[in-house]
Symmetry: C2
Amino acid sequence: MDEAGNTVVRRPRVQKNVTRAIAADICADIFSAGDFLPTENDLCDRYGVSRTVIRESLKILESKGLVRGRSRVGTVVCRKDEWNILDQQVLEWIGPRIFEFDLLNCILEARRAIEPAAAELAAERATVQEIADVERAWLEMRDAEGDIERFTKADVAFHTSLLKASHNQVFLQLSSIIQVALEFSLHASNEVVDRRDEAVDIHRQLVEALRMRDTAAARNCSLQLLSLAARDLAVAVKKHQPQASS
Amino acid sequence: MDEAGNTVVRRPRVQKNVTRAIAADICADIFSAGDFLPTENDLCDRYGVSRTVIRESLKILESKGLVRGRSRVGTVVCRKDEWNILDQQVLEWIGPRIFEFDLLNCILEARRAIEPAAAELAAERATVQEIADVERAWLEMRDAEGDIERFTKADVAFHTSLLKASHNQVFLQLSSIIQVALEFSLHASNEVVDRRDEAVDIHRQLVEALRMRDTAAARNCSLQLLSLAARDLAVAVKKHQPQASS
DNA sequence: GATATTTCAATCATCATACAAAAGCAATTG
DNA sequence: CAATTGCTTTTGTATGATGATTGAAATATC
């Protein structure tokens, strides 16, 4: 931060940081939807970089739907429902503010539609190698014990591998939102260890279903996992909205 | 095209065109996955614009996963499975080459997972206004008669409105891929008019289901539409791969 | 006074140039 | 032969200038 309270970045490899900084300020509603961003020159002063960097950052933000540059008029901030929320980078920029977006519920609904279908396809089409990848992720989950970082990472790897094994490019692209969902839900339910043991076991059954090419079982396991995820999400949301207690 | 056979663009509002041109050349495998792009200065010559424009174009392409810039080394073209294929712009760049991507099948599978779920949610949550929007699109489909452009546009509007009515941001974002699927499938099955009448009728039933808040009927209608879409897709693929006849 | 036209300032879009920093390669040297 | 050093290439950043276009203010016209 500089004396004006703005996020300032250092010189050498500054592009990514500036982009992130502007995105963060947009997420923080310092620049609200519908507003015009300051002029390019003002943004230069604000973030302490040249117009080159500012313009390239704006181009990136524009390509992801956060802003829209109107020729010779200015750059307006887009409404949040215009953002490419399926984009990994956008999700990273949003970060913990995802709780303000009512996104986690949408993601859970989407997972309910997508993951059981992907599990079925994976049971049909997964190669031996891909099943092994899924199982390795499961082993990592099982051995993570109390290490929640490690567990989350393994869980993400499990679901990503599963989507990969579905051999469907669209499903695979959606791993970014599932990753986000897992990261924010699991951190919330870290104290409930029993539940995690249950989850590990269902994951194991899912690997088994892949081996057996049992599409119905695979779908069923996926649905069970999503029921657990729903409970975890409820906990996570309650934690992040303590003002909503009656 | 200039004397060297490269796509050249004129000066005034050149950014979008250059980006599209580079993307097109990548899609056409003029720059293949794993290859390094020419240096920025060479790209300037190739496309006849300044480095500013080239760099901003590369930034956009990078933000969508088509290329990856390695500092002080060069820009490499990414594998196609790294591209953000859920991005509207990327899909536009791919254009008719989508048949080479094995994407339409993936999209159909994804639609089977997503649209019935979205239809259910829409039946629960659509506002009166949103149902009216869906119906307006249906009317437009019905009145399109032989005008296939108009029919396609209305069909896209119908499905987009439906996703909007599901009040799920994730589903709504996926309207881009559904749009692409509709555009390429419908143009292929334009001679089969009976089938289109059948489709119009099922669309009508879906509107009715929304009115009645009948989630099961909505899901069922959606599934029926996807069966039709599957048949249309088969026709479209056969048309675009005439060499695959045994 | 209201409306249409013109002018003008603001701002983005592009260009050209310069320099810094770093990665890769080659030459040099122990 | 290996390790260091230095050079070249290429990207990253900065800066200033010019063109083009939009929106609004100023002016002219009715």
